[in-house]
């Protein structure tokens, strides 16, 4: 089982919290958005906390960062749009190759929902082209999408085409107007509200307007149907603690002063 963690760090020096998360959850691949912590600080903290060596694979991105226990040549860059999208081949000996697409989409503060949706179309196209070139679609898309799972860019066929139900995703694709669009399975739908012990979302924003959701799930993982059997739903969690110290304030909302305004998500792949 390979364990992954994604966290938008909100440009905070959270290396100790990261190290604690890595230790408590035994994380193999750590992925961050808005990471401005010097690489050396992250490596030192991880090494001290876990007693193991983590690597920072070669990258053109500063703030979109990957650290891994696997040798860096197991996480091969395939496509990079610095600080917005990096697609990696995860090549582990004796295991099927996986494409790992790590994304940080523009914020709602700066982009309209329409523009966000069109960006999803572009990223989805890039991913499809890379899948075609690699000859498989064992793809994981993870990151801060700055959109909820129900928004058009995430749901639309030309966007990520993320669906909430495994049986629908397992059909593989659907044809609309003679064009075929592959699905992603989006397990984040099940994590809204208090259906589990986890927080009701990954990002809290009480907008002063007529419609506000308060809790949002901008931080998401989506998997292609080819990986459905490898993706255990019960391993997907939104975390409210780094294992020692809470990541939320007494209100239950993300502790943006001591940690980040986003909560991390963790998931596993059995390969």
């Amino acid at each position: 089982m390979i364990k992954f963690l994604f966290w938008n760090l909100n440009r905070k020096p959270l290396e100790r919290r990261i190290a604690s998360l890595a230790r408590h959850h035994d994380i193999d691949v750590l992925m961050f958005a808005e990471c401005v912590i010097p690489v050396g600080h992250v490596l030192s903290a991880l090494s001290e906390a876990t007693g193991r060596v983590y690597h920072r694979p070669s990258s053109d991105s500063d703030s979109l960062a990957i650290y891994t226990r696997f040798p860096p040549d197991c996480v091969v860059a395939l496509h990079e749009k610095p600080n917005r999208l990096t697609v990696r081949r995860l090549v582990l000996p004796g295991r099927p190759e996986v494409l790992l697409a790590l994304a940080h989409l523009p914020s709602k503060r700066h982009w309209s929902p329409d523009s966000q949706g069109f960006e999803c179309v572009e990223i989805a196209r890039t991913i499809r082209e890379l899948e075609q070139a690699q000859g498989h679609s064992r793809t994981v898309l993870v990151g801060d999408l700055n959109m909820n799972p129900f928004e058009e860019g995430v749901v639309a066929d030309g966007g990520f085409h993320g669906v909430m139900a495994r049986p629908v995703a397992s059909r593989g694709s659907r044809v609309v107007q003679d064009r075929e669009y592959p699905f992603f399975y989006n397990p984040m739908w099940a994590h809204f509200g208090h259906g589990s012990d986890d927080p009701p979302g990954s990002y809290y924003y009480p907008g002063a307007e007529h419609v506000t959701y308060f809790w949002n799930i901008y931080d998401q993982v989506l998997v292609r149907p080819a990986l459905l059997a490898n993706f255990p739903d019960d391993q997907l969690r939104i975390l409210d603690s780094d294992g020692s110290v809470p990541l939320v304030a007494s209100s239950g909302q993300p502790d943006s002063s001591g940690a980040s305004d986003h909560l991390p998500i963790t998931f596993s792949l059995s390969l």
Binding site: V39, G40, H41, S44, S47, R56, P72
Partner: protein, 137 residues
């Protein structure tokens, strides 16, 4: 009725028990990463070009040190060339541009040990680690 396949290949295909230079280099690259806790990554970049009529251009393995904390700065320490035959190997060491040769695996291992112990190599590694903020604990 299908004809039986006539196997003209010898039972022993001549599989070598020698450890290829590339495997040795990758092992040493991984060790550098372990010893420096990921502050420095050894990288081996291989090029192999086939000339006309299988006249082999030498395999070329470049051994580099990458410093992730220094914006992926890379320093090429040496390169290793060999033919289809794994040995002998010719090693060109930078920046002095010295060429050394090893005609077997044992001598290649000895030669690598020597290169890693050079003052110039240790100075490069020390400087990269210091600039990366590495502290031994």
């Amino acid at each position: 009725m299908a004809e039986s396949t006539r196997d003209l290949w010898p039972p022993d295909l001549g599989v070598s028990s020698l450890v290829p230079p590339l495997a040795i280099l990758r092992e040493q690259a991984a060790l550098l990463s372990q010893k420096t806790k990921g502050f420095l990554e050894g990288e081996v970049v291989t090029r192999a070009e086939r000339g006309p009529r299988n006249k082999a251009e030498p395999f070329l393995h470049e051994f580099r040190i990458r410093a992730p904390a220094l914006g992926d700065y890379r320093y090429e320490l040496f390169d290793v060339r060999h033919d289809f035959e794994l040995y002998p190997v010719v090693v060109r060491v930078y920046p002095a541009d010295i060429e050394l040769e090893a005609d077997c695996e044992d001598k290649f291992l000895e030669l690598l040990k020597q290169i890693f112990s050079y003052d110039s190599t240790r100075r490069v590694i020390g400087a990269l680690l210091a600039n990366s903020g590495f502290q031994e604990k």
